[in-house]
C-alpha cells in the first residue's frame, strides 16, 4: 500500500519533535535544571538542581507560587542577594528552618570563598552523574516505581502516605483553607489512543490552581481547547511539566486511561 507523499513528508518533518518528547531519560537525570544566569559573572559554578531531591518533601505549588520560582527558565531573578535576604532558596535554606528535626543549611552566606567553603559547594558544584544516580536510588528504594524509566511514582507514593509534601512555610506562605477540587475532565482522543481522563484532584494536591492557570492553561470557551501530542512534545500544555519533571509522555497509558469508545 503506497503512503501518500504529503503524509510521508509530514511524518519525516514531525518525527524529531515527537521523538524528543518520547525520549526516556534516566530517572536520576529527569527534572535536572541549572541555575546559571549569574554564575559566570559571580565566578561560581552554576547550581545543578534535581527536582526529585525536593519533590519527596514539598509540593510544586510551594516553590513555584509561594517562594516565587518561575516555571520558565531565567525568569525568576534568583541571586545570592535574594537568597541571603530570605527569598528563593533562602526561604528555607536559611540555617533556621527545621526539617526532619535538623536545620536546613543556609544558602549563599556572605563573605565566604566559594572555592574553599564546603557549604557553597553543596549547590555550586559540577554535577557528578554517578553520585546523582546513587542518591536517586537511595531515595527511590523507599517508594513505588513505574514507567519505562522505573522512576518514583509520586502519585502513588502520595496516595499511600509515603510522602506528605509540605505546602506551607512559616513567614512565606499564606494560611488558606485546603483546596477542594474534584472535577475530572474527559478529553477525547482523536488518534488511535484511548481518551484521557484528567483529574483535577490529583493535580491540585501538588499544584493548587495557580501553577497551571492561566500561565499554562489560559481561559477558553468550554470545549474549544485543542491539545496535540506534537504540541505536548514541544513542551506546551501538559508538556510543560510532563516532558521535564512530572512522569514523561512516553508512559502513554498513565494519561490515556479511558476505554476505547
Amino acid at each position: 500500500m503506497a503512503v501518500p507523499l504529503r503524509i510521508a513528508v509530514l511524518v519525516v518533518l514531525l518525527a524529531p519533535v515527537a521523538s524528543r518528547g518520547m525520549e526516556v531519560v534516566p530517572a536520576h537525570r529527569y527534572g535536572l535544571v541549572q541555575f546559571g544566569n549569574r554564575a559566570a559573572a559571580a565566578k561560581v559554578p552554576p547550581v545543578s538542581f534535581d527536582h526529585w531531591s525536593h519533590r519527596a518533601r514539598f509540593t510544586c505549588r510551594l516553590c513555584h507560587v509561594d517562594v516565587g520560582f518561575a516555571m520558565t527558565a531565567g525568569q525568576t531573578g534568583i541571586s545570592a542577594s535574594t537568597n541571603r535576604s530570605g527569598y528563593h532558596c533562602g526561604a528555607c535554606h536559611n540555617g533556621k528552618t527545621v526539617l526532619g528535626g535538623k536545620p536546613v543549611f543556609a544558602s549563599c552566606s556572605a563573605g565566604v570563598d566559594v572555592d574553599e567553603s564546603p557549604s557553597c559547594r553543596r549547590c555550586h558544584e559540577k554535577r557528578d552523574p554517578e553520585k546523582a544516580r546513587r542518591d536517586y536510588e537511595a531515595l527511590a528504594e523507599k517508594f513505588p516505581r513505574k514507567g519505562q524509566a522505573r522512576a518514583v511514582d509520586w502519585e502513588e507514593a502520595e496516595a499511600k502516605g509515603l510522602v506528605r509534601p509540605i505546602d506551607f512555610v512559616e513567614g512565606v506562605s499564606i494560611r488558606r483553607a485546603p483546596l477542594k477540587m474534584d472535577k475530572e475532565i474527559s478529553i477525547e482522543s482523536s488518534g488511535w489512543m484511548t481518551d484521557v481522563l484528567f483529574s483535577h484532584r490529583k493535580h491540585s494536591v501538588w499544584n493548587g490552581c495557580e501553577v497551571c492557570h492561566p500561565e499554562i492553561y489560559p481561559s477558553t470557551k468550554s470545549g474549544t481547547k485543542k491539545t496535540s501530542m506534537i504540541g505536548i512534545s514541544s513542551g506546551e500544555s501538559c508538556g510543560v511539566c510532563h516532558t521535564k519533571v512530572a512522569f514523561p509522555i512516553a508512559d502513554c497509558e498513565r494519561c490515556h486511561v479511558k476505554p476505547v469508545r
Partner: protein, 107 residues
C-alpha cells in the same frame, strides 16, 4: 477649696497632655515599620482567597483584581529582593482571579 480644685484640674490636664505626647511618640516610633508591613497585610488578604477563586462571586473577583492593581505600585517601590518575589506572587494571584472571571464570561 477653690485652690484645691485648680490643682486637681491642672493635674488632670497635665496627665492628659503627657499621655497624648507619649501616645503620639509611640505611634511615630512604629510608624515606618507599620507602613512597611502594611503592603504585606494587604497582599496576604488578597491572595489568601486563591483556593476559593472558583466559588467567589464575580463582584468579589473583580474587587480582588482591582486591589491587586492598587497594590502593585507599592510593591514596585520595595527593595530589589522583595520586589522580585512579591511582584511575581501578586501577578500570579491577580492572573488567577482574572482567569476565573474570563472563564465564566466565556462560558
Amino acid at each position: 477649696m477653690r485652690r484645691g480644685r485648680s490643682w486637681l484640674l491642672a493635674a488632670v490636664l497635665g496627665a492628659g497632655a503627657a499621655f497624648t505626647v507619649g501616645a503620639a511618640q509611640a505611634v511615630l516610633a512604629q510608624g515606618p515599620a507599620a507602613a512597611t508591613q502594611d503592603w504585606k497585610k494587604e497582599f496576604e488578604e488578597i491572595c489568601a482567597k486563591t483556593q476559593d477563586a472558583m466559588a467567589l462571586p464575580m463582584d468579589e473577583l473583580k474587587g480582588l483584581v482591582s486591589r491587586c492593581d492598587k497594590l502593585k505600585p507599592r510593591i514596585e517601590k520595595l527593595d530589589e529582593s522583595q520586589r522580585k518575589v512579591y511582584s511575581r506572587r501578586l501577578q500570579v494571584c491577580r492572573d488567577l482571579y482574572q482567569f476565573v472571571i474570563e472563564s465564566r464570561e466565556k462560558g
